[in-house]
Symmetry: C2
Subunit: 343 residues, 2 copies
Amino acid sequence: MYDEICEQPAALTRTLKSELRAAERLKRLVAANPPRFIVLVARGTSDNAAQFARYLIEICTGIPVSLAAPSIFTLYQANVDYRGALVVAISQSGESTDINVVLERARAQGALTIGITNEPRSSMVPLAAHVFLVRAGKEKSVAATKTYTGQMMALYLIAYALGARIRIADLERIPAWTEAALGLAPAIEALAQRYRFMEQAVVVGRGLNYANAFEFALKMMETCYVVAERFSSADFLHGPIALVEKGFPLFLFAPSGVTWPSMKEMLEKLRHLKAETLIVTDRQNMEAPADAGRAIVIPARIPELFTPIPYIIPAQLFAAALAREKGLDPDRPRTLSKVTQTL
Amino acid sequence: MYDEICEQPAALTRTLKSELRAAERLKRLVAANPPRFIVLVARGTSDNAAQFARYLIEICTGIPVSLAAPSIFTLYQANVDYRGALVVAISQSGESTDINVVLERARAQGALTIGITNEPRSSMVPLAAHVFLVRAGKEKSVAATKTYTGQMMALYLIAYALGARIRIADLERIPAWTEAALGLAPAIEALAQRYRFMEQAVVVGRGLNYANAFEFALKMMETCYVVAERFSSADFLHGPIALVEKGFPLFLFAPSGVTWPSMKEMLEKLRHLKAETLIVTDRQNMEAPADAGRAIVIPARIPELFTPIPYIIPAQLFAAALAREKGLDPDRPRTLSKVTQTL
């Protein structure tokens, strides 16, 4: 897992370079025939990438996005009307039966279909009209890391194709920002010690980093067996905040940008409750007078739109380091296998 | 909270009777002008009702449904294209600023708008073109119960208006099924003792009962301060199942119907891991040879489509009873207030 975390800058550069052509092709196609709405289909870590894309695409293109519930097709045999839709299926292995079923049905209905996968020879590839390959190389650890960020890069390209004002030159800067975040590894390893006996936690993110809250929590559940909840800061205030007592551990994604005021307000509330907070943030926010508790400070000034990939890096490093502190093998979590078949 | 749980059969009957006319009116309206897709907007417990409706509407009408992320409007000021959409906002109080902002913007864009609220004089009412009132009477407990099921009843009526093959005669049976579930109160109170020192848990549901997993977990978080995760059985297999060790407590919604085979398979897996399971189910499933661990058996034979309301009753009773066992006041959870204002 640690090695694969470190491979991400190179994998991201490869994915961006090789898939730009697919994005330009898609751009021409949708310019002629814009989709009515977009449906994203995925499970597990790929579903977290889908959650990111949901915000990205709605914010940057205004096209409505829905995250599919595959059981509606596989168990209930419903016939959802996907005519005129763009359906994007995301799967590391390309072998998730339920995801592929939705893709097949959507294509049969006349939807424009895209598959995003790390495996060029997987079952998903012939099912989708267009394929974006994540060029991350074989992922060996059960806990997905480099395929998550690779999927996000492919999704930036798809947003670009759909008309988002994203400059390719900005996407090209993401690998360097990711590299800068990787430089935090020694500090994060030292920090992880403190959490050796943590058994439960809450992760909070908002907007474009909401998906990262899901992904960080999933990594802690899979590799550290910490019961890690995940919420948007708004949903958290609608009930779950009652959980928080003195010393309760919370992790918050807090980049500069439109989500910072609400995140800062939440930090003040949590300080009042004497919770123990750790934020992933940048220097700019650290200058603001927020008593933020512990902080992991990304050493780069990143526009909020491009924070999600660099900001998940410290979380991945933290989960890998904490698993080691707990005497666990993050590459082989109990009960799990790399390809999960569900219907 | 306990009193309001018990008021539900009467509240459901009232809501169904008084809102049937609104449903018939909506039915005529959408027959002439069917929506391209549907957007549901809510937070907290109301968002769990929205999650239920997402399955209900897609399964029964085939119209695609999306759950809105309000921050896309309120923080990012994005202009999502809701022309031709039906936008349904759900709020117990009708005073959630972010929900009302989305409703207002959607209406300005020409979307057909519906508001579902318990408060006829709330800010939401004049903002929506059509209103479905939940006739639950004032909800005093901070933990929502009767407004959740009332919202679900309103959402059945909206699905009916959208062309779902739901007979009003079947909806009229829901209060009696709910009453039957309430008869389990003494057994559930005895059962709650066992969980006095439970600090974390997982709730699993699928399909139409997926939302109930969210709602049960939320009730345990709000009133019992149990760190309660919630998953669909499929998502749970994609990672979080690694959490489960000997004695780990899991709660599963397991009605008869299309979700039962996958739920039964999961129960077998959990038995193998020596987890402690408690299922909410019916007599029919108990006859099948599944070693299901502990069970709460609903004393009625309910078609799966109508299980979500009766099945949440034991969960509400359990949360109220467990809070009492833990010496907590479920009506006044720490940190929370009845109306939550977020942006």
